[in-house]
């Protein structure tokens, strides 16, 4: 990095250095996680001649990436909150925007790519071992499917929220973010329920219930005409909130938490 780049408000060079440092920090933990997965699969291979992750690869490999990604995202800004390392974190010569962008790029792009590569290799090795053990020799998992692309969208929306949680909560960010998400979903559900009650208010003696079965929507015992239209609107609304509004809010909120962070711990 040269002196001129210091004057830039946003330097890709500095972001690349930050991503590299995050990769160095996370690699040992991910290596251990991969070794554990390999060990567990070998165990099932010995017992049942099949590696459990290769049996339903669309679920297991994607779940492994999503869970690890969420865990890493929720730990992304742990150092920033620490009483000891926090000052160093804040004063590392890169702007808050670069530090935040590097975390996003690491856990939304670099990590899924690297993890996919590692898990393709794991799947290939397990498949080979299955054949050698006389098992079925399941097909090698790969992420190049439409389903995985959709899963990636869901993962990105959730990871951004956990990054914001990590930038906000000093301790147990994963639990607190999950708790907030559950509370948020419950509040939304209550709001929808209250809205339906307003529109299709229950007559006395009818159950407070909403059911949707074989295309027939019943709200408080009343069959709703054009249920599919209402469902489309509802799904669009939910997807808009889930995949656009919440991630957008999380992105902005997380950034401001990082930009406004001060080293107020351990100061007299």
């Amino acid at each position: 990095m040269n002196t001129d780049s210091l004057e830039k408000k946003f330097s890709l060079g500095r972001v690349a250095l930050l991503i590299r440092n995050r990769a160095y920090d996370d690699a040992p933990g991910l290596g251990i996680g991969l070794a554990i997965l390999f060990g567990l699969n070998i165990l099932t291979l010995i017992i049942g001649r099949t590696a459990f992750m290769n049996e339903s690869p669309e679920e297991t490999y994607v779940a492994a990436i999503v869970l690890a990604g969420i865990l890493l995202s929720s730990l992304a800004f742990k150092g920033m909150h620490s009483g000891k390392s926090g000052t160093d974190w804040i004063l590392l010569p890169a702007t808050p925007l670069e530090k935040y962008a590097a975390a996003l790029a690491t856990y939304l792009v670099a990590f899924p790519l690297a993890a996919s590569g590692a898990l393709i290799a794991l799947s290939a090795v397990l498949s080979l071992l299955e054949r050698l053990a006389g098992g079925p020799g399941n097909a090698i998992w790969h992420p190049f499917t439409l389903g995985t692309a959709r899963d990636y969208g869901e993962y990105a929306a959730v990871a951004v929220a956990f990054l914001a949680g990590s930038a906000t909560f000093r301790k147990r960010a994963i639990l607190k973010t999950t708790g907030l998400a559950v509370a948020y979903v419950l509040a939304c559900a209550l709001l929808v329920y209250a809205g339906l009650a307003l529109l299709y208010g229950p007559a006395s003696g009818r159950d407070f219930s909403v059911s949707y079965d074989t295309g027939v929507l019943r709200v408080f015992g009343t069959e709703v005409a054009d249920a599919s239209g209402l469902e489309r609107i509802f799904r669009a609304l939910v997807d808009g909130v889930r995949l656009a509004l919440v991630p957008g809010f999380s992105l902005a909120f997380g950034y401001f938490r990082v930009a406004e962070k001060e080293a107020r711990d351990e100061v007299q």
């Binding site: 500095r14 590299r20 160095y24 000052t87 001060e262």
Partner: protein, 295 residues
């Protein structure tokens, strides 16, 4: 140059600085003195950009610390009292962190590591407290930063290390660099720091150059304070360790003023110190009236 103008800062509703003004010129090692809780660490962190003032203006070489531009952060090095270091060996630390500072002088860093007898094959987290301080100091000096902020740097160092530290710090005082050292242990650094900045009650109480001090004040061990131009005195085993005002026109004689006594005088008897520095006559000294309240 580092300046604070009408700067205010506090924790919650508790104000720490109210309209603090400070101007630090390059080429000097400033000694920042204050009682516990006076805000020395907070002031250093504000200048470093780790804390943001509530009001007023802070600038370091034309940049606002709170904006945390990369150029500012690379031009500033802050060494905390208890430095944190990652679980890396020095070479790996250099690869990961020195890359963010284009002016980092690797050759100088290697020389300082050798001079400070720091083990290059050891993890930084295995270093002792004193070694961590030495490593942080070496990296700050080699960083090429023009603003160097050291918080209690001699705290926890053994006697030979303090001597090493003084030698290295003297080397770090380059013409274009502002060095600020906050310390309780003024005697460790008495020969190096000039000027002395005393922070008390949210303000800079005094900013005193060595020439001002030597020209206006001197130290003496006395059996009795009667008839002496005492600015401030503390009883010791023999009699009194006293800070005395030089008579008008007198510039020689007596010992150099002890910085610890100067600090205590600034906190306990600021009006007497001010009068002595202005060459004004001092009223009679009553020791009991000027006891320093330790917080």
């Amino acid at each position: 140059m580092v300046t604070c103008a009408s700067m205010t800062f506090g924790y919650g509703k508790r104000p720490l600085f109210e309209g603090l003004d400070l101007s630090l010129e390059p080429g000097s090692i400033y000694g920042l003195l204050g009682l516990n809780g006076a805000g020395k660490t907070s002031l250093l962190k504000i200048v470093a950009g780790a804390l943001r003032p509530n009001g007023g203006r802070v600038e370091a070489f034309g940049r606002e610390p709170g904006a945390r531009q990369a150029a500012f952060l690379a031009d500033t090095a802050f060494v905390p009292e208890d430095p944190w270091l990652p679980p890396l060996k020095p070479a790996a630390w250099l690869e990961r962190y020195a890359a963010f500072r284009p002016a980092f002088d690797r050759a100088r860093f290697a020389r300082l590591m050798g001079e400070l007898s720091l083990d290059e094959g050891k993890l930084l987290t295995k270093y002792s407290y004193g070694q961590r301080k030495k490593f942080a100091l070496a990296s700050a000096i080699a960083s090429g930063a023009r603003t160097l902020l050291l918080d209690e740097p001699t705290n926890g160092l053994d006697i030979p290390s303090k001597a090493q530290f003084r030698r290295i710090l003297a080397e770090a005082a380059e013409p274009g660099r502002v060095v600020v050292v906050s310390t309780h242990q003024v005697r460790d650094l008495e020969s190096l720091i000039d000027p002395v900045v005393i922070v008390h009650d949210g303000k800079v109480l005094f900013s005193l150059g060595a020439d001002d001090l030597a020209g206006r004040l001197y130290g003496a061990r006395l059996r009795s304070l009667d008839g002496e131009p005492v600015v401030y005195a503390e009883r010791d085993a023999v009699g009194w360790a006293a800070l005395l005002a030089r008579p008008a026109g007198g510039t020689e004689g007596g010992q150099a003023p002890d910085l610890e006594l100067v600090f205590n005088a600034a906190v306990a008897a600021p009006e007497r110190l001010e009068a002595a520095l202005a060459g004004e006559p001092l009223p009679a000294y009553t020791p009991a009236a000027y006891a320093v309240e330790k917080e």
